[in-house]
Symmetry: C2
Subunit: 332 residues, 2 copies
DNA sequence: TTGTAGGCGTTATCAG
DNA sequence: CTGATAACGCCTACAA
């Protein structure tokens, strides 16, 4: 038997509507009464019944998030951060690991007030799902019907190159996956090329872009061999993802190459885990906390105000200095 | 405006209580009527309102699952499979990424009918949470107050050794983490030692247990060097986890050692991803699907029957043959 | 400032 | 077989 507002009402000696108001901090109730009711409620271990609240308010205060099957560290972290951020609001989150359509079906039954999708899912057409939808990461696919939050990959890599350039680096390698069909990876790659051009060092780096097969640690690890075979060795490396960079660090270590003394390393993906690498890695990217905050509050805005928000929001990346980069001595 | 049974009733020309019964396949409604109602409901895009159902039935049909922060491939897979399995039942799942207490708080508000916990969380004492709780993986900690489902790690390794022994292998290495405080890893280690003894090959393998620092790919990868430094080379390796084995495969490949021609490899963790390794790995462990099924249905039993089930259920591991093991030729 | 009454969408009970 | 009607826990006018 869970305790309801009626139970509280009996104990408090007031009507249950008063209890309801008191608990909702309504101005229609004396402060004194509020305190008393709150105390009793607390003591009795009262927890509001979401189902009942939902039924009457027509608001579920739930947002649905589709858990992408691809389990990269960044996304797992992002999901966690989103949940944490949501905990500071009246909203809760349900995670669905099903494919898009099935997930939306579930969301409909729960009458979620809004939903968050990841890029991967958005290609399917979404039919009769009315709550607001927010999409993370498809700025390239500008045909999206929904507001989009997207980190600015190009700018991130530009910041990385700028940072290295200012430290005196001129020979800089990019180790990352460059597939035809992944706009995010392509954006990083393009960002790198543009940055080289901006600083007038493209000629120097004709051969220092290494296209890995995938995004895994081994891709970074094995790229080190190719890198070392270069005629002119680089003094700095930009890793295209967390996992790739983890492999790079190991690869260099196995060759007795020290970071940052012998070579500087910057990783894409600005997540706390970078700190835990053998060498804490300086990294660029939009910090996941910021992403999470932006995503959550944009969605809440969408749900509560229905204002047409800017269609796509590019998030500004940040370079977080750790200890994997050093200046080039000879340039001093 | 979402469609309710009343809307359907109007269109169908029956009372809404009849609609309710029809939709629930009650024997109190003519088959004909049922069909008609179902057709209309479907056409109108009707989805039942969980909140309302919950309110009247006192059953939320939701189970809560606390998402362990430790993100190993196996657990991610397990969570997904559990969700898939739950989809075949009337139950839904909410995932919480919060710490135990906060998660339970949320679960209470949603009035979940049951909850699933992972080993990591269970040490905290749980107060005033009434729905049944099922714990995955703490058989060692027999002080658990809740029913436990646990894979039999020891037996898994025993099966691996047996399999290799029958193939003619006598020099077998175990590469895994052996920490003081992780009962699962210790169980595997103990299982290995017992198995060696059973087959009378402990003396042969005095030095072929490699205690890795961690459970990551690099731990497996770098263990290969130590392994190769052994006086008497082994003909088979058992990897203690999915990630470790992934590292082992890469490590061997880098040394031009072929699997299974030059060396046989078996991995712990029986998950589908084993198939995707460069060399599809023969593996031992309770298949995640089976675990998921067991977990889900045990919990459902718990929720619906309240029968006191056996306190701890050890799941029998299975060896899944792929192509990473070969017989020793000279024994033929 | 507090209490009363109606209703949210659904199921269950009991008449028809 | 079908249709009213009460009830689930809560919120919100509206009345007192």
């Amino acid at each position: 038997m869970t305790v309801t507002i009626k139970d509280i009402a009996k104990v408090a000696g007031v009507s249950y509507s008063t209890v309801s108001k008191a608990l909702n901090d309504s101005p229609l109730v004396k402060g004194e009464t509020k305190k008393k009711v709150a105390a009793i409620a607390n003591e009795m271990g009262y927890a509001p019944n979401f189902a009942a609240q939902h039924l009457v308010s027509k608001k579920s205060k739930i947002i649905g998030l589709i858990w992408p099957t691809i389990e990269r560290a960044v996304l797992a972290t992002l999901v966690t951060k989103i949940s944490n951020e949501l905990n500071k609001t009246p909203y809760s989150m349900i995670l669905s690991v099903d494919p898009l359509e099935r997930s939306l079906e579930t969301f409909k039954k729960y009458k979620v007030d809004g939903a968050i999708l990841f890029e991967e899912d958005v290609n399917v057409k979404i039919s009769n799902f009315s709550p607001p939808i927010l999409v993370y990461g498809v700025s390239r696919n500008n045909s999206s019907d929904y507001p989009v939050i997207d980190p600015d990959h190009q700018q991130a890599i530009l910041k990385a190159v700028t940072y290295l350039y200012k430290l005196g680096h001129r020979k800089i390698a990019y180790i990352g996956q460059i597939p035809q069909n992944d706009p995010r990876q392509i954006a990083k790659y393009e960002g790198f090329k543009k940055a080289l051009k901006k600083f007038g060092i493209e000629e120097l780096n004709k051969t220092s872009i290494i296209n890995t097969e995938g995004l895994d640690w081994y891709d970074g690890y094995s790229a080190i061999n190719k890198l070392l075979a270069l005629d002119e060795p680089v003094t700095a490396i930009i890793g295209g993802s967390y996992d790739i960079s983890a492999g790079i660090v190991r690869g260099l270590k196995d060759k007795q190459i020290n970071i940052p003394e012998d070579i500087s390393v910057i990783s894409y993906d600005n997540i706390p885990q970078m700190e835990n690498q053998e060498v804490p890695l300086t990294s660029v990217g939009v910090p996941v906390e910021q992403l999470a905050i932006k995503i959550v509050h944009t969605l809440i805005d969408l749900m509560e105000n229905e204002q047409p928000l800017p269609q796509v929001t590019m998030m500004t990346p940040v370079l977080t200095e750790r200890i994997s980069c050093a200046p080039i001595k000879q340039y001093y």
